[in-house]
């Protein structure tokens, strides 16, 4: 094998036009939280040419935006499973990474609330399971203690399991940080690039909507479409059944109502409907869990919203009096397997990352390290490794000072004091910075995810046209 050229300077971010004709060392298909983490891990090796290929116009647009934004401890994973190990490792790695990069995390802790005797009994088993997963801080609480911690909880709670290590995190900033760091370290990010064909004859040839991508090694992190790509390469290992999760986001004025992540006692269908604060200062209610045949069914439904409101009314009755600021639905890439399906195919220089459940965000950094290990077994010579240039992400969390709250920043640049989106207090300076960033937004929605502009209670009544003008003037 000829030595690959050393990556010099940042990689390219493209969204249109022909793709570079070069043969990459590794192509990662899918720029969700897992694919972006894998690209970042690979970018630590300066001799590798890495391409991150994404069908949508932005990173984190598939199943990654459907999660409930929780940094899990893994206390309730299946002991001994790959998921249990990667969540446990990833949880610690992501907490450190978030602190270093300015990704908002709040260690609010979780309460699994039991509402009947059966659930109360199940808590004891869950506490034991936590210990088997090497999580020893979980503690059973009586009803009185539960209400002392959560005074607005609805009547009828019998007790709870307190899991202090569960945190809330910004899933969006996490994915963007991985992709940003990967690109700055030399990886190319090709957006709007839908993989339509795949074949391997010593080199992977991916036929995409923007032409051919060639790579010596391939990582399938295609999420909802991972099984389709896997089958194109001759494997029949799992089938994705999209599981829709509808979520209702409540006004920040509801934030005072809840202190912990409030979880139901889990059932076979998943972790059930939770009520949780978000790092943006809102309160989240959801998700539903609906198995669907359609991999694009990201619409909310009247039934889904009614179900959530009914469940939310039991857990936190006062929540229903607060305004709803957003409703959205995402698809989780559920499969017939209970555990992650991360499989190396050394003969094909190919690694499949399938069946990543809602814990994928938490586990992402550990999954990335695991995947690179499997690539090495498939013959990838990673060459030397280096520490990546540290990055600081724009702070969009409420528990940390935002730009308009920092006198030194305001003194240096008045644009941070000119608020455009009033509900979310987004300044013109932050919008300008997002538009000039390494992985800039290509839509108003992309700008919203990066800055929170227009994601507040007015949904654009006040700021919509002003934000749109700034976007249109500064878009890439």
């Amino acid at each position: 094998m000829t030595p690959a050229p050393t990556a010099a300077g940042p990689g390219a971010v493209t969204a249109e036009g022909p793709l570079p004709g070069r043969t990459y060392d590794v192509a990662v298909v899918g720029a969700g939280v897992v694919g972006s983490a894998v690209a970042r891990e690979l970018a630590r090796h300066p001799s590798l040419g890495v391409a991150l290929i994404e069908a949508r116009d932005d990173v984190g647009q598939g199943t990654s935006k459907a999660n409930t934004a929780i940094l899990h401890t893994g206390f309730d994973a299946v002991p001994g499973s790959l998921e249990a190990r990667l969540v446990r490792e990833g949880s610690r790695l992501l907490a450190e990474y978030a602190a270093a990069c300015g990704i908002p995390v709040e260690p609010v802790g979780a309460l699994l609330v039991a509402w009947d005797a059966e659930q109360l009994a199940a808590l004891t088993e869950l506490a034991a399971k936590a210990v088997r997963n090497e999580y020893v801080d979980a503690q059973l609480l009586g009803a009185e203690e539960v209400y002392a911690r959560e005074p607005h909880l609805g009547p009828g709670a019998l007790g709870a399991l307190h899991v202090p290590g569960e945190s809330i995190v910004c899933p969006w900033t996490t994915t963007l940080a991985y992709a940003t760091q990967a690109v700055r370290a030399g990886a190319d990010l090709h957006l709007n690039t839908l993989v339509e064909q795949a074949s391997y004859d010593g080199v992977h040839q991916l036929g995409t909507s923007r032409g051919m991508v060639r790579a010596r090694h391939l990582v399938n992190a295609a999420g909802l479409h991972a099984d389709t790509l896997d089958r194109r390469l001759g494997h029949d290992d799992f089938t994705v059944t999209p599981r829709r999760g509808q979520l209702v986001v409540h006004d920040k004025l509801a934030r005072r109502l809840v202190r912990h992540i409030l979880l139901p006692v889990p059932t076979a269908l998943g972790k059930g409907v939770l009520v949780a604060p978000t790092v943006y200062g809102n309160v989240l209610l959801g998700p539903t869990a609906e198995d669907l045949p359609d991999r694009a069914a990201t619409e909310s439904t009247a039934d889904g919203l009614a179900t959530l409101r009914e469940k939310g009314a039991r857990v936190l009755p006062a929540l229903l009096d607060e305004e709803v600021t957003a409703v959205y639905a995402g698809l989780r890439a559920a499969t017939e397997h209970d555990d992650y399906r991360i499989t190396g195919h050394p003969e094909q220089a190919y690694v499949t990352v399938g069946s990543i459940r809602s814990t994928g965000l938490t586990a992402s950094l550990a999954i990335a390290a695991h995947v690179v290990g499997l690539l090495t077994e498939g013959g990838l010579d990673t060459g030397p490794v280096r520490d990546l240039e540290p990055i600081r992400m724009p702070m969009i969390g409420e528990a940390f000072p935002r730009p308009h709250q920092r006198p030194e920043l305001l003194a240096a640049d008045p644009e941070y004091g000119t608020l455009v989106c009033h509900c979310e207090r987004v300044s013109r300076g932050e919008i300008r910075d997002a538009l000039a960033s390494t992985v800039p937004p290509r839509s108003l929605e992309g700008l919203r995810r990066r800055t929170r502009a227009r994601s507040g209670r007015c949904q654009g009544f006040y700021c919509g046209p002003a934000v749109r003008r700034l976007f249109e003037e500064g878009r890439p």
Binding site: V249, L253, A296, T298, E299, S300, T301, A302, G304, L305, E323, V324, T325, A326, V327, Y328, H404, Q405, P407, E408, L410, A411, P414, E415, G417, T418, L419, H422, R425, L444, R457, C458, Q459, G460, F461, Y462, G464, P465, A466, R468, R469
Partner: protein
């Protein structure tokens, strides 16, 4: 002296004021300036400007209006239709907004635009209230002998109405639509459905027609069309009005492709359109009041003796003329408080 100033210029004017009036201003330890005025009005819409104007005319010294938008005037700024002003002097919204602004400035009110009130620095019932603000000039804490909240109201957007479906582009409230059309000259779609059949809905129809969009239908969940004035109903001429119906779902991925309508009797239909405007269903913009645990009542008095309220904040969707009267009434309550406080 008075002026309408943007936040940036306002900071320069602030120090000049300080020098003239002998106000003790300074920079706090954390880089937050501090300053005191007599009355702070939050919001430069009809209610806030009316309150400030009356206070200044009554001789209150330093009356300052804080407005987070770049221009004073409130909602009328983007209501490019008639119905404002008086019988003898009819005005459109922008003209009315300009007249109110000029009136306030002429009375000696200081209007600072581009300045956002972030929170209460002090909202205890026993001390003068203080607000933390931010603008291009930085953070500032303003203490006042009285505060008037005139923060207005907004229309409930699609999400708060829990309308299911996809999340495509092309979904508006009247406020956003009017600004896009009249203040920003932005393109809107070509076929629009308007949800609601009240005055504000017809204003949305007017804004859509300005940019040549076809209004497919007005959809109202009431059994019968509500009464509107002749002037407003005329705007809706030629537009189908579907009563007893509601929007059950939004369709389309990137851009809206249609709305699913459900009639009370169970019938349903899809109206193809690329734009939908949710009108009316006004809700108070009461964040600041709630942050300070200031309970609002029907009139200008609140649970805080030195904090008053007026306008659409108390009666969401209130018309400009009524908000203006409420602002003047609030000024009366403020004057009584200042007198009782014993200047």
């Amino acid at each position: 002296m008075s002026e309408e100033v943007s936040g940036g210029a306002g900071e320069a004017a602030a120090s000049a004021d300080g020098a003239r009036g002998g106000v003790v201003g300074g920079v706090g330890v954390e880089g937050v300036r501090e300053r005191a005025v007599d009355v702070l009005v939050v919001g430069a819409g009809p209610a806030g400007l009316a309150a400030a104007t009356r206070l200044a005319r009554a001789g209150v010294g330093r009356v300052e209006v804080l407005e987070r938008e770049t221009r004073a005037g409130g909602v009328p700024r983007h209501c490019a239709h008639g119905g404002f002003g008086t019988w003898t002097r009819p005005l459109d919204g922008p003209g009315y907004a300009r007249r109110l602004t000029r009136g306030a400035l002429g009375a000696g009110v200081r209007i600072r635009t581009g300045v956002t009130v972030l929170d209460w620095a002090r909202a205890t019932r026993t001390e003068p209230p203080a607000l933390t603000t931010v603008g291009p000039g930085g953070l500032e804490t303003l203490t006042a002998r009285a505060v008037v909240l005139a923060t207005g109201s907004r229309e409930r957007p699609r999400s708060a109405r829990l309308v299911p479906g996809t999340r495509p582009a092309g979904v508006y409230t009247t406020g956003e639509l009017q600004q896009a059309v009249h203040l920003f000259g932005q393109s809107i779609g070509t076929r629009a459905v308007v949800v609601g059949a009240e005055r504000v809905s017809y204003a949305a129809v007017g804004a859509l027609r300005t940019v040549g969009a076809e209004v497919v239908a007005l959809v109202a969940d009431r059994a019968r069309a509500p009464r509107t004035t002749v002037q407003w109903a005329r705007l809706g001429r030629g537009t189908p009005l579907l009563t007893g119906a509601s929007v059950a779902e939004l369709l389309g991925r990137e851009r809206l492709s249609g709305v699913r309508i459900r009639h009370r009797d169970g019938r349903g239909a899809v109206l193809p359109c690329d734009t939908v405007v949710f009108t009316g269903d006004f809700v108070a913009d009461d964040e600041l009041a709630r942050r300070g645990a200031v309970a609002l009542g029907p009139g200008p008095d609140t649970s805080h003796p030195a904090v008053f309220a007026a306008g659409a904040l108390l009666r969401p969707g209130e018309r400009a003329a009524a908000a203006h009267r409420a602002g003047e009434a609030a000024a009366g309550a403020v004057l009584e408080w200042l007198a009782a406080e014993g200047i």
